[in-house]
């Protein structure tokens, strides 16, 4: 193995952190009753894409291609977040500012944009620290690695079920299926 085990632990910790962000989104959906909009769901998919990129390191060892996948997923997800930020950046007189509740003064789509930007910066740091594992390297994930991957998979399944309950088998509009 070319890379220290600590780097793999940090990789899995980043996966766990992103998974907890998605758990927080579920809290807003079911705890506060704020149904996610279509753009919100697309941002959740962006987070899942980043988690998938990190899971490639867990399963197959560190490779530069995996870092490219993470950056690509973060750019896509970040585009969705920035779109929603720009949609609500100009307050309308008489209407509440932004869409949904704010956390520490910023809405969830703004926090999502920060998370995606942080992901790109963190990947740049990782690229300075890792070395490509040789082709054919067999890596045994630790219990922590396997647990975070399983947790992320269950989160993805939960999101699929929750979206099916919200929008049925069709496209989503605000607060439910499109008319």
């Amino acid at each position: 193995m070319e890379n220290r085990p600590l780097l793999y632990t940090v990789n899995s910790a980043c996966m766990l952190g992103l998974s907890l962000v998605l758990v927080g989104a579920f809290y807003f959906q079911y705890g506060l009753g704020e149904t996610p909009c279509p753009l919100c769901l697309l941002q959740r998919m962006g987070m899942l894409g980043v988690i998938l990129g990190l899971s490639l390191n867990t399963a197959f060892g560190f490779r530069r291609e995996h870092a490219a996948v993470v950056i690509g997923a973060a750019l896509v997800g970040g585009s969705f977040s920035v779109r929603q930020v720009l949609l609500h950046i100009a307050p309308v007189e008489g209407e509440p500012t932004g869409y949904g509740s704010a956390v520490l003064g910023m809405h969830l789509y703004t926090w999502a944009a920060i998370v995606f930007l942080t992901t790109i910066a963190g990947t740049a740091v990782f690229l300075c620290l890792i070395r490509d594992e040789p082709a054919g390297t067999v890596r045994r994930p630790t219990l922590f690695d396997r647990s975070t991957l399983l947790f992320a998979t269950l989160l993805c399944l939960s999101n699929a079920l929750a979206t099916f309950v919200e929008c049925g088998a069709g496209a989503c509009c605000e607060n439910g299926p499109c008319p």
């Binding site: 909009c37 279509p38 753009l39 769901l41 697309l42 998919m45 962006g46 899942l48 894409g49 998938l52 990129g53 899971s55 490639l56 867990t58 399963a59 197959f60 291609e65 996948v69 690509g72 997923a73 896509v76 585009s79 969705f80 779109r83 929603q84 949609l87 609500h88 869409y99 991957l149 399983l150 992320a152 998979t153 993805c156 399944l157 999101n159 699929a160 079920l161 979206t163 099916f164 929008c167 049925g168 088998a169 069709g170 496209a171 989503c172 509009c173 605000e174 499109c178 008319p179």
Partner: protein, 82 residues
Amino acid sequence: MTSRPPRLPRSVGRVEGSPPSAPTCVHLRPIPMAFLFLSYLATFACVIRGRRSAALAGLALSTALSVAMFFHHTTSGLELNF
């Protein structure tokens, strides 16, 4: 006085009575959101089963479908300003 736009068949993905869009726009049929999450779930399954090439292909497909849904969202005749 403006005339109502002709009703188009459902197969082109338009909602009846919606305002007409730019004449050159081709509306993509919306992809069910739940199906998009299932495509990500299939990619997770490929990672767990140790199939790297399938996982990379699955992630590329899932991301492409998400981007396609994003463009549908931005060009839809529905007022999806959120």
